[in-house]
Symmetry: C2
């Protein structure tokens, strides 16, 4: 060995030269196409072998392409027959599995015996026939590709071609070339954005995985732009209007951008299972810089309060242009924007609301409430919460990846919850699988099962730290699941699609099935106390004083004495307690088989200073029966009524005639409202509008007027919200029918 290496070193020398870039060299032959805006141009002339020494012979005897008409106007047959006439897009938008037509003008009449041409459809970078990203379509029966083609008609130099994309083809933005074959090579049109076209999912075609055989449902879940999202409490349901805006200008491109941002392989984009699962991850900003940032804190200084949005359009267009997550969302905002995404791509979708949704951070079927030895809630040790309500989406599709019977409605959820397989995404989970406890099937069925089926377990904690279950409430969670009735403005109770009726034999079987798959339930069944506590349902406006009548019902034949603890709390809609604004500790004596009412006066001044958004008060009564040592409990959420916005429209109510919309609001309080945002929009008639008021003094009124011009006929709504730190979730709307 030479001198130079006679002294080896214990450490390698520092590297020199530039740091290498991340590369796929040695690992994959080409990067996977995962961006629908990436383009690989197909050459204008593709030679068969090298041209000879004299160059190419003149190609005058072969067809030349003079003009291509994509027949893309909203009133042409393509968009009408494909239910895509509402998309505000200059391009052709069609659905897969169904024929559409384009018109090609050559330099002379087409002669099927001697002329050979094809329409070529390409998507993404490095298009390939075997991957379904390059599809030639031929005009003759003898030569057929995966997409069927035919000459519909010829007229002079014009050929009208019919093209039927495969019913499972990739969904996204394609480009179309016209190619003429000559013995020397292929002559093609140049790339021109006017020949871009969008191909969507098709719920109207039986061969498509998203086929939905019900025209009313399709009209609602694909074509309807304005919806109702339910919130409040199961015994006091409130409504929120939302403009999904799936047909608005730019929304379709924004939806495709979401998949591009996720670097979702183009070849997976024809599969609604993969598309919806990926989107459930991408709709929230966790993990992947997705669309919406969640915020439940009450401080929305650096963004828009979740209660302030009126529709999805602003959110999606902002995301696509800024390429940054949009601030802020809570569950219904995630569900609403997800709904836009799904309907826009043609996957039937609806928003559902689950009342008393278990927020299960353990993957088991228990929500634990810890009481101290006197029967009072031990707030330091009660870590679980039950959301007053939670919104998610259902989308409709077949499930070829599962055994038969689990197609149909599937739960997907974009709200970032604590654990769903460790990731901030959820679904698609078959609603049928959830109902039948078949929670072993992907994706996340066990998680959704717990959201509608958990038990609430009250524990009594001993001084030494051990705990005994004292009451198990098996009916509280998943009390009701609601969605909008298709074609109507009413609500539809779909609880029975998620579970069998409480107490039925089927319900027991299902719970046992779920336990087989590892769901942990509370096994103990503490004897029920013979005293019931009943809390009334109340309808109270924000700022009013009211009375709470707590009933103690003695079902025994002996006298009973209850040391009770009546607690009033301000809670978030997530069930998390913000503060306890009052408590009473009466001792209630009840004669055998009698009822005693305990009256609690609640003054507005004691809750108003603590009130958080959505104005939920949570009353909890716990207590211990002296004679038996048994524990009694009762809980009730009271959602205080907010003041309303008045929305009015006036004018011709005709297409292309200017009209006027006004929002009126009166501050009903004695104090001023500061930093007030008002939003207004209406699908097909008014794009999102915004107004900011720095101050609205107590008792004063405002009126905001906007002009607008309806673009199309039909019945729709103008919806408005008002939002400020001291008062959230104020809304109003008005229906309007536009005539031709």
């Amino acid at each position: 060995m030479s001198d130079r290496d006679a002294t080896p070193s214990d450490v390698p020398p520092p590297p020199t030269g530039p740091r290498p870039k991340a590369t796929s060299r040695g690992r994959t032959t080409v990067p996977v196409a995962s961006d629908n805006s990436d383009i690989t141009d197909v050459p204008e002339f593709e030679f068969f072998g090298l041209p000879g020494p004299r160059g190419l012979p003149p190609l005058t005897e072969y067809l030349d392409i003079l003009e291509v008409d994509m027949m893309r106007k909203p009133n042409e047959s393509n968009k009408i027959q494909h239910h895509t006439m509402y998309y505000n897009s200059d391009h052709l938008v069609v659905r897969r599995g169904q024929e559409f037509q384009v018109k090609v003008t050559f330099n002379r009449p087409y002669d099927s015996a001697r002329d050979k041409f094809a329409l070529e459809f390409v998507i993404g970078s490095s298009p390939q026939f075997s991957k379904g990203t390059y599809i030639p379509v031929f005009p003759t029966k003898e030569r057929q590709s995966s997409w069927e083609g035919r000459v519909v008609s010829t007229s002079g130099n014009e050929v009208t071609m019919g093209i039927t994309p495969e019913a499972n083809c990739i969904v996204g933005k394609y480009h179309m070339y016209v190619a003429v074959a000559t013995p020397f090579g292929i002559r093609r049109t140049r790339r021109d954005t006017s020949r871009n076209l969008y191909i969507l999912f098709n719920p109207w075609v039986a061969a498509d995985a998203v086929y939905l055989d019900d025209e009313t449902e399709r009209e609602e879940c694909v074509m309807t732009e304005i919806g109702i999202i339910y919130h409040g409490a199961y015994d006091d349901v409130s409504e929120r209007n939302w403009n999904y805006g799936q047909f608005n200008y730019g929304v379709l491109d924004a939806c495709l951008y979401i998949m591009d941002k996720a670097a979702m392989p183009i070849t997976n984009r024809g599969d609604p299972i993969k598309v919806t699962r990926k989107a459930s991850a991408m709709l929230n900003s966790r993990d992947d810089e997705g669309v919406l940032v969640g915020n439940w804190s009450g401080d929305y200084t650096y963004g828009v309060a979740p209660t302030s949005w009126t529709g999805s359009t602003d959110i999606l267009l902002t995301y696509a242009s800024s390429k940054m997550p949009v601030c802020y969302a809570q569950c219904w905002v995630y569900a609403a924007v997800f709904n836009t995404f799904l309907r826009c791509l043609g996957i039937p979708a609806r928003v559902v609301t689950n009342y008393y949704s278990a927020h299960d951070n353990d993957g088991n079927l228990k929500t634990d409430i810890i009481l101290d030895e006197n029967g009072r809630i031990d707030r330091n040790r009660t870590k679980d919460s039950i959301w007053n309500y939670h919104c998610w989406n259902e989308c409709y599709m077949s499930r070829p990846d599962l055994p038969p019977g689990f197609g149909g409605w599937q739960v997907v959820d974009a709200t970032p919850q604590e654990t769903s397989d460790g990731m901030y995404r959820c679904g698609p989970a078959s609603v049928q699988a959830i109902k039948h406890g078949q929670i072993c099937f992907p994706f996340d069925a066990a998680f959704v099962f717990a959201e509608v089926n958990s038990d609430v377990v009250f524990y009594s904690r001993r001084r030494d730290g051990t705990m005994d279950p004292v009451k198990v409430n098996r009916t509280h969670v998943g009390r009701m699941v609601l969605t909008k009735t298709p074609g109507e403005l009413t609500r539809r109770d779909i609880t029975d699609q998620y579970k069998f009726s409480e107490g039925s034999a089927e319900e027991r079987t299902v719970l046992e099935k779920a336990e087989e798959f590892g769901c942990k339930r509370e096994k103990s069944d503490p004897t029920l106390a013979d005293v019931d506590v009943v809390l009334p349902t109340l309808e109270i406006s924000v700022g009013n004083d009211f009375e709470l009548n707590v009933e103690f019902v003695n079902r025994s034949d002996q006298e009973r004495t209850v040391d009770a603890y009546i607690s009033g709390n301000v809670v978030y809609y997530t069930g998390v307690t913000s503060s306890e604004f009052m408590f009473n500790t009466p001792t209630v004596e009840i004669k055998p088989n009698k009822t005693v009412k305990e009256l609690v006066e609640v003054e507005s001044k004691i809750y108003m200073r603590d009130l958080v958004e959505q104005a939920n008060l949570h009353f909890i009564v716990t207590g211990k029966v002296k004679e038996t040592g048994q524990i009694v409990t009762a809980m009730k959420v009271v959602t205080l009524r907010n003041p309303k916005l008045t929305v009015e429209v006036s004018g011709g109510e005709k297409v292309n005639e200017e009209m006027m919309a006004s929002v009126q609001f009166t501050n009903p309080f004695t104090f001023s409202l500061e930093g007030v945002s008002i939003r207004m929009e209406g699908p097909g008639i008014m794009s999102p509008k915004f107004k900011y008021y720095s101050l609205i003094p107590g008792g004063s009124s405002l009126t905001w007027t906007e002009f607008f011009t309806p673009q199309r006929t039909g019945t729709t709504r103008v919806i408005a919200t008002l939002d400020c730190p001291a008062l959230r979730q104020v809304s109003g709307q008005v229906s309007i029918t536009i005539k031709p």
Copy 2:
């Protein structure tokens, strides 16, 4: 309204004040405990109610705790009975579901009738009884918690307590308090790191989900530190020795840190399904700043070449101290470090190698190879690749989340592949489910199924871009699956655990089942050509010239003429072609039922300049039979033999006696090797050592000697690797038996 707000604005004012921090306020009551190094101290004295005006009475009559002995020495019964004596840790390390003992010395003898004490085990922040993160253990039968406790013996003031953690308890680092109950409150020991203890999975206990009822397998898959990982080709298998080092100092803490870094909820850490799934995502740096950065490029300037590592210890300790991903890994490095993680936590695990592993970027069961009209491979259009081999892990556990029958070995894979449910993680997928085509069950069974069952489809591409399948090879992919034989240094073929034998009725049924669940296969069955091409198996050393004998076998009764294309390529082990170093285009004439041999001379100078790591040459023969137009193909990977390192040890071969290990290497080439790293280590005897040589001239030799002192008895190995940009994957090892 006042003047102040008479002029509303179309935009909100810019926010003022500090930007709010991300908060869980309003969303969850407390953040989910997800860090095993987080600590919530339990108070030294916990009062029952407030002390009276005179303060606390003297507590002299109650037990005082003088000393706690965790019985944590390697030779004490705890570590021996729990199979944890090899862990190089000062702390107690035990396994769940099995009793361990601790000794408490009080100030006077313990009297079970009047004294009340408990051992309290806590893990993570905000420990809670109902979450299994706070567990009191009592000495009496009357009072039992979820973990059983008993007094094993008393002697003077000393009590030996037996504690049996639940067989499904959380795995990780706990702290133990001793608490004495008095009527005024609880008196406790202070936190002291000497009472930290680790509780691991327990394959020796039937109630544990990772129970493995085979002592030979347990010894191999939990206790064995040094392993063999197979690579090369199915007909020319090579071995790689690896020091898993799961018992080395700091490795257990590093494994817990990986879960902390992933913010995995503490409460999920007792479930081997969740632990292994999370770890499969965390072992690679994609998405989550995990342990290892993948690099297949051949340029490893800024890190360690994947072929250079000898064990996992360096990698895990570097990750835990730098808290940054470690550079670089390829599949066997991911699998090896994952294996360390699993064995370290007590989950039985092994590394397996799948030969010809389909790298399937589409989720279907096809690998496409595109030929042009003359039967030559069209490299621009062939985008798929088949990895020469791919390594993953199997771990052993029950699967309560699935129907019965799918427990046992589960595939987990930490190598970041293109798509596994869109994420860089894979598994656990039941091997049984894969074998039986039950790929509807989580997690990622369909993905692994494709890796062992894909068809290779050769397409002939027409000029117009359409393609016809001309040959389907249904046996190439998943040719063989190997793992090390437990307790021996030989290999074990476990292909039959993944699939039924090729061509059997069961195999057909399974493939049909998989198709039901959405796997797409090539349906066409092109007629086989009546000419076969056969390539020989070769054993060639790097730098040698050799001959390739290509046989053309005519199975017909007529003369056949083949226009052949014989191509020699340098490929990565991922099957990606780096360069074509030679091609021949013979026309071969074969008489009826005869064989013709076509001899191809391969000179070393034409491949040496292009050679990439792992020195794989890939020969492809394609051709067209003139008489029939049929396509013939054959492929063969030749892994060139590298020079070896010679490792020798000398000395007493006794515990605590110094010994010497030397590595010798001769550069067999005519050129110099530059930037050479040599690594050496041996479990239980030598920690990882490193030496760097800037230059080794052609033909020259080096010897590197290190001293070491064996720490324990038994048979083990010293393994060494040599690595430089021009020559990778050179290794050597020697066995050594240490006597007491």
